[in-house]
């Protein structure tokens, strides 16, 4: 009996038991001998200079080993470029403890290193800092006059500026019979993964480090550390076997890594640095933004003009950007377009990608504008989307590798019962509440990055696969194991996937919903090469029953290579490795996108969300009572982990629409709610019925696996669907996120 294929099966997370029983070790849990503990001192002003920093009280404390500041830190690389990680936006990267300049509130200004955490934390309170404060601006509303184009750099490759205008927007808009003009505003958000950012640096001798880090990219951080501290790549090993959520916050090396390594090299000791929850609000975040959209349609509801202008926060030192303005034209055809993107520098830390960066920001505005247009036209909102359905990508005029968005609309609408909707706002009472139905479209890129995989068959006939990728909680470990197992017809118990280690072959950082396609495809490529090698070895064995067999004539299954025509003729994997003097048979191969072929196509995932809300008639309290999201993302490797990605994203959508915001006090220049008590995300009581549908989407063009990625697409449509449902329930259009229920009070 052959092993049942694992791809397509709802396999539970292989590391699930370790996680729920607490045996999974995270970056701050490696208790190496002689460990020292670092605690970061954070600036308490948003902008200015450190005039004086008095560390004497802290240094005098028993147990304090060192206090590092900009004045006494070891010498470091001074070329900015050496600090630029793979995800660094154009600009001048922030260098911790570099000089006396304060660029944002909560900026690290000193590191206390002590023999225990409590002493380090207490000593930090004894450090006295005198500042010269300068004028600052932390609110985008007051800084629009500073809006400008973003500088271009390496990051521009993945985040191109909006395309040039097409047609004549102004003329078409003015002439159109139906038009909508709306401004949208979003508060900043912080990722707030439950695992705090932490690094344990193990000093392995002169110039050699083993680093346990919370990161989405082991190699990105390895290269960063080697460059900044002048170490050899081979002597820096970054490990992240378990990551307790990151959502983009771990795409760039964070300052606790830098400080932990600096202290370890300086003291020649093992050093751990852990941030606390408040300090995590000094890392990157989803930027504040203001968007202005003007859409126009003709009598039959076809879009004739689209303007999308985005004004988005960045820091004073880097030009972080997102793709925001151009999404509408990837979904809807329009002859006249005008897309703009301006950065607005503020005295806050540089934003960083946060789940569906740009996409979720843009699609809220786009899909709420479409909803308004539907009301102007007196057309059902879903019908309006179908009238503007793009069979080819309107922005590039290229066909899609696949696009099952129509199926998403149909299946989700049917499951939801969209046809029961009375289009009239505030027309569906339920007791003392008004019910609202809203829908929206989601779209996201289907990325694939180069990835290298080492694959080997061991003396025991088992498969081992190695890649540097992390598993930030998405199920990557499980999914990669499934893909590898199927390639060799093995059960997943016979496959070991080693990951989260910069010593393993190259993987990009885990972002953009790209890992299943990137490392997954590399596994397929490596497996193919390894199978060839195995067959060759098998054929070379003296008296081999497969001596005459070609690749097509054999099957890899159950730990054997056997003849397709007669499975009783076989050689076991063990026998092949034994014939190789017991040495594992291995290969390392690169998987990469078929750039040439794919240049002719547009590659995207799509989704549609349908949401029901209840709004209390007088008190205006909003409840998302149910939601259905259908996703078209190519082949689904593991329906269980994929479903978790989508339902988790849907909950985030509820959060983004109704709860989540980092509140900036403009007078003090700081976030005032940096804790999980006041930074509201949904509780169980806020999450009701959620349904996930995976539309059948066969994609033979996109890559060897036909996969796209499900990490982000589940979030994209939800905020607009909720906002549209709130409008339908109440007749009131709230264009600011999160929606505060009291804004619905007359």
């Amino acid at each position: 009996m052959s092993v049942k294929p694992s791809v397509g099966q709802p396999v539970s997370r292989l590391e699930g038991r370790q996680k729920v029983t607490g045996t999974a070790k995270y970056a701050a849990e490696y208790n190496v001998p002689g460990l020292l503990y670092g605690y970061v001192v954070s600036s308490t002003i948003p902008k200015g200079k450190i005039l004086n920093i008095d560390i004497s009280g802290a240094k005098a404390l028993e147990g304090v080993v060192e206090v590092l500041t900009h004045q006494n830190r070891p010498k470091l690389a001074w070329f900015d470029l050496q600090y630029a990680d793979m995800d660094a936006p154009p600009g001048t990267v922030f260098k911790p403890l570099h000089d006396d300049e304060i660029k944002f509130n909560g900026q690290p200004i000193a590191l206390v290193v002590a023999t225990d955490f409590e002493t380090a934390r207490y000593a930090a309170t004894l450090i006295k800092v005198d500042y010269q404060q300068e004028g600052f601006e932390t609110c985008i509303n007051n800084s629009l006059h500073k809006a400008r184009d973003a500088k271009k750099g390496l990051a521009t490759v993945l985040k191109p500026p909006p395309p040039k205008p097409e047609g004549d927007f102004k003329k078409a808009y003015e002439a159109a019979p139906f038009k909508v003009d709306t401004e949208y505003r979003h508060s900043p958000e912080h990722h707030n993964p439950i695992e705090l950012f932490a690094t344990t640096t193990v000093f392995e001798g002169e110039g050699k480090l083993t680093i346990y880090d919370k990161t989405q990219g082991t190699i990105n951080n390895q290269v960063f550390i080697a460059n900044v501290f002048g170490l050899q790549y081979k002597n820096v090993r970054v490990l992240a076997p378990f990551v307790g959520g990151a959502f983009g916050s771990g795409l760039r090396p964070q300052y606790q890594l830098f400080l932990s390594v600096m202290a370890a090299l300086h003291l020649k000791r093992n050093v751990r640095v852990t941030l606390d929850r408040q300090q995590m609000f000094s890392l990157g975040h989803r930027p504040q933004n203001i968007q202005r959209l003007k859409f126009a349609a003709n009598e039959s509801g076809q879009l004739t003009a689209m303007q999308h202008s985005a004004f988005v926060e960045t820091s004073s030192y880097e030009d972080y950007t997102e793709v925001i303005s151009s999404w509408s034209h990837r979904l809807y055809p329009s002859k006249n377009t005008l897309f703009e993107y301006k950065v607005v520098p503020l005295d806050l830390s540089t934003p960083i990608d946060m789940r569906a960066p740009g996409g979720s920001t843009a699609m809220h505005a786009i899909e709420c504008t479409m909803d308004q247009l539907a009301y102007k036209l007196n057309v059902d909102p879903l019908e309006l989307r179908l009238r503007n359905y793009a069979e080819i990508d309107p922005s590039t005029k290229k066909p899609f590798t696949s696009k099952a968005l129509r199926e998403c609309y149909q299946q989700a609408a049917e499951r939801f019962g969209w046809n029961k909707r009375n289009p009239q706002p505030a027309s569906m009472p339920r007791g003392n509440k008004l019910v609202g139905y809203g829908m929206a479209t989601g779209v996201w890129d289907a990325y694939q990055f180069p990835s290298r995989v080492e694959a080997m068959i061991t003396a025991e006939g088992k498969l081992v696969v190695n890649n540097a990728v992390t598993d930030i909680g998405t199920g990557t470990f499980t999914v990669m194991t499934q893909i590898a197992a199927d390639e060799f017809g093995l059960s997943i118990e016979d496959v070991t996937f080693n990951y989260g280690d910069s010593k393993k072959p190259f993987s990009m950082f885990q972002g953009g919903s790209s890992m299943t396609s990137s490392t997954g495809v590399a596994i397929v490529i490596a497996a193919k090469a390894l199978k060839e090698k195995m067959l060759k070895k098998a054929k070379g064995i003296k008296g081999s029953p497969l001596a005459a067999a070609s690749e097509k004539e054999v099957v890899f299954a159950n730990g054997r290579i056997s003849l397709r025509s007669d499975p009783s003729v076989f050689i076991s994997f063990e026998a092949i490795v034994a014939a190789n003097k017991g040495q594992a048979i291995k290969t390392t191969n690169m998987g990469k996108p078929h750039a040439l072929k794919l240049r002719k196509y547009s590659k995207m995932t799509h989704s549609a969300s349908f949401v029901e809300v209840e709004v209390d008639k007088e008190l205006k309290i909003i409840t998302v009572t149910r939601a259905v999201t259908a996703v078209a993302a190519g082949k689904i490797i593991n329906p269980k982990t994929a479903r978790s990605q989508i339902s988790g994203s849907m909950i985030w959508g509820i959060s983004k629409a109704l709860h989540e915001e980092s509140i900036v006090d403009e007078t003090l220049g700081k976030y005032v709610n940096p804790n999980l008590g006041e930074y509201h995300i949904p509780t169980h009581a806020d999450v009701n019925q959620l349904e996930v549908i995976f539309a059948d989407e066969k994609d033979e063009l996109i890559n060897e696996l036909g996969v796209k990625g499900v990490g982000e697409i589940g979030l994209v449509a939800m905020p607009a669907a909720i906002a549209n449902a709130v409008f339908h329930a109440t007749g009131k259009r709230i264009t600011k996120l999160p929606i505060h229920f009291d804004e619905l009070l007359e």
Binding site: N432, E618, I663, D665, T667, V672, P682, D742, L745
Partner: protein
Amino acid sequence: MNSFSYLRVNSTREALNAVAADSGASFIAGGTNLIDLWKYDLSHPDLLIDLNQVDDLKALKSTGTGGVRLGALLSNADTAYHPVIESRYPLLSKAILAGASAQIRNMATNGGNLLQRTRCYYFYDANSPCNKRSPGSGCSALKGYNRIHAILGASEECIAVFPSDMCVGLAALGAVINIVGPNGDRRIPFADFHRLPGDRPDIDNTLKKGELITSIDLPAKGFEKNYSYLKLRDRHSYAFALVSVATGLELEGEIIKDARIALGGVSHKPWRVPEAEDLLRGKAVTPENFAQAADLILQGAKGYKYNQFKIELAKRAIVRNCMMALDPSTQRPGAQPSL
């Protein structure tokens, strides 16, 4: 290290002696707020006097005058789920269960609940001006982000609100607080326990240095037939109230014999206006009459940049909650609005 001494006491006498002997001492019961304050560097006790072994503070017994005496050390959860409280004082039970999380309610005590500090953002940020934390430094909330702040009884010095839900229920019931101290025992009516900020926002209540709350007396009348607790907030659980209302009604047919209405989330103390309750006596249970009472309760309310909405919201919440009290079976988990 942030060092401190720890002392476990077995009786209120021992507790009082210990606290009298050390000006930097602090009692600890559940610790659900004290530990927060400590971590935020806002509280620095050099001696922790652990009350958890003082068993006579954990009782729930009769007051002898028809009421019920709640031990100060009884946990919020044990109080809310106690059969006597569920049957005779369901308003208190619902108010408690609307607050915090199950884990916190399991640890938090009744005495501690009365003494919790405000959740004003600026109070917890040691680097922002705050008159409650450092008198004379100014009030950051006044011109800051004041969505969660007071609309009633505030001063130019402080617009913080008292965050308890339980206390809104206790205020409505008209509880009495029993206190022991170096100068003898005292009984404080609930309305006189918490204070308005005035020019001393650093003082939350009238408990004096060295005193200890031993119990809370609930009066005989529990409004168990017609009661409701409503909590409006930015999510359905684990968030402090923007506005909350406790209502107890005593009815004769459609006519109100007695009414209690207390507001939470709007002031430095649970807010009660006896004139509004007087107004309702003898009136019919109509939304119009409750709206009149609501207007009276909100008289003098003043909103700030981000919390103007609370005035209208509180009025609507009062009317709704009084209507909900007519049929307490409509109560929903987390004190969400119903009907």
